[in-house]
Amino acid sequence: MNSERYEELILDYLTGNLDEVQQQEFETLVATGAIPAAELEATQAAYQAFHTLPDPEPGPGLDAKFNQLLATEKQKVMPSGPAFSWGDLWQQLNIFLSPAKFAYTLVIFFTGFLVAWLAFSPKQRQQQQDPDVKMLATELSQMKQVLFTTLIDQPLAVDRLQAVNISQEMTNADSRVIDALFNSLNNDPNVNVRLAAVEALKNHTSKPEVRAGLILSISKQDSPMVQIALADLMQALQEKEAVPQLKQLLQDESTNELVKDKIKESINVLI
């Protein structure tokens, strides 16, 4: 038992972990020869030699493999489309059970109707078709609008996400849609919906009020991914007006370090 106690002390001495009392005890033991000085030195030499062994240097493969791993995992969790990979089946089930399915079905039906009309329409195609097609196309677009407004308020994030994605297919940038997108961007509890909203709003950045809205949104976001997406967008748009907001975010202590790095980069590009 005694020797174990000594061994413990010696190790603590070697790692520099002796408190005052232990230090005294230790020095006494060495002085009296209870801990032989020669052995102590030998152990110390071995300990130091071991701890100063240089660490094997990894090649570039180490980082590369990790980055690959991270990218794959992020894809699983944050897909670019409306489908979540591991929850594919689950999501299909959701859509099946979703109350908005009916509205969606109508859109499909209408599209089918349009195709059938084109295929089987009467002989005087040239004159009659154009206005008819136009009418159907308008109705289709209106249906999409209805679908959008229905889905955007659904309790399931999956539906709201679909709404945002549908808005990207709409050719006319209705101010109501844009307002709804901003509402999603600033208020939706689900980060994926907010990110999709950024994507959708990219299509409307020719409008100054959209750019202004996006700039204002920067300070309202606390999700790092959305912050980065917005910083990226500002950078791509060369939107200098965004710099004050970005600076504010930079100064905020609670902002994530990686986001701060991104913001610094964006500010540098913009200035």
Binding site: A45, P54, P58, L70, N256
Partner: protein, 179 residues
């Protein structure tokens, strides 16, 4: 790590930067194979991602990480044994000779290589213990937790392992191993 758990996956990069190289060194000293060591490190982080939901945050991340790391190593060894892969010391010695060591006086180089060889000759448990204690951010208290024993126990074992290492080193030196 809690941020990673709640979905901020990019945070994992920070953890990787902090501990990845250290883990690589750990595995390299067991396998003496760069590619394999890289794969093992990746395995560890794969498990970190896979089991992130189980990280309770009441203990240190480092302890949890190295716990996973030990399991990855143990699993690898089991697999290697089953596949009949030899862990022949002689083979490893050949690889050792190719180790790039920061070029200083030849004597120091030899010294280091001998140390590495001595390390290789220790029993798996002793080697693992020593290498764990060398890992970044690990305290004896953490090792005790991982091994389910007392901190005092760990210290005694490390002490004895260091001395065993020294003995093997001296034997090798006496044999006059030519590098």
């Amino acid at each position: 790590m809690l941020k990673v758990k709640s979905g901020d996956l990019d945070k994992l990069s920070l953890l990787f930067k902090r501990y990845g190289k250290s883990l690589y060194g750990f595995y390299f000293r067991f396998t003496r194979n760069a590619e394999l060591s890289e794969d093992l490190v990746q395995d560890v982080f794969e498990r970190v991602l896979k089991y992130r939901h189980t990280f309770r945050g009441d203990g240190k991340f480092v302890t949890w990480l190295y716990h996973l790391a030990r399991n990855v190593l143990a699993d690898h060894i089991k697999k290697a044994k089953r596949a009949g892969i030899t862990t022949d010391i002689d083979e490893k010695q050949e690889v050792l000779a190719d180790l790039t060591v920061p070029g200083e006086a030849k004597q120091k180089e030899e010294h280091l290589l001998l140390m590495e060889m001595a390390l290789d000759q220790l029993s798996h448990d002793k080697k693992e213990l020593l290498l764990m204690s060398k890992l970044q951010g690990v305290k004896y208290k953490d090792i005790a937790e991982m091994h389910n024993c007392t901190e005092a126990n760990v210290k005694v074992r490390v002490f004895r392992a260091i001395n065993d290492l020294r003995e093997v080193f001296l034997k090798l030196q006496a044999k006059g191993i030519n590098i």
